[in-house]
Symmetry: C2
């Protein structure tokens, strides 16, 4: 289940794309338009800056803006940054985890296939597809 973090973050990205006029867009405007608490968005947006998805500028006239064109972002990369991982099952989420039942597990192949389908969908979907 995708949490509000991922969902709100995606909406911020869409808002930034739709209201892009070359300059920085203040978070207050985004929060108002999207009807989301500005304080909560700060946490999310901070993560997006750290992850290199967007850039921020302090001070008057500051705000946030995209660093790439909307068609260069995939929904998958946005969600992965905010959700940590988009994995359907815990066994696949941590690549270093070596499950003792890996060899004989009857469900693992299915989870892998399922994960592939999810991954393919989300990484083929572009931010520009949502405008």
């Amino acid at each position: 289940m995708i949490s509000t973090k991922g969902r709100y973050g995606l909406r911020v990205m869409i808002d930034l794309a739709q209201n892009d006029n070359g300059s920085y867009i203040p978070l207050k405007d985004i929060a108002d338009r999207q009807e989301i608490s500005k304080k909560y968005l700060e946490i999310i947006v901070k993560q997006m800056v750290e992850g290199g998805l967007i850039k921020g500028l302090s001070g008057k006239g500051g705000g946030y803006k995209l660093v790439k064109k909307p068609e260069k972002y995939t929904v998958g990369e946005i969600l992965t940054l905010l959700e940590g991982t988009i994995c359907s099952v815990a066994c696949l989420a941590d690549k270093n985890y070596d499950c003792p039942r890996r060899k004989k597990c009857e469900t693992l192949p299915m989870w892998k296939e399922f994960d592939g389908i999810v991954h393919d969908y989300l990484y083929s979907k572009k931010l520009s597809d949502l405008l």
Copy 2:
């Protein structure tokens, strides 16, 4: 993310299918084979009985068994029972929930499409496919 409840429950179903000899299979045997705490499985299995997925018999010689042939179960129905709902986003999980942004939400169509893909995969997958 599918929790242990759903994953363990699915493995119980597979175990019941694989070890079906007409009579009831004690939970202890399943727990031993699957290397899962019997106590924890009790909770999961209880839910599966209540949901009509399997039936249980108390007393000596008792245990659990499937009520249908493995090819008659879908992975989707098993997971839905145990996880409550298999929905990628909260807005779609509760059918009665009327989101105020429903009309103008740019992400809703994508979530619906995504949910459809997930749903299709899990409900087309049969328990018998995992044996």
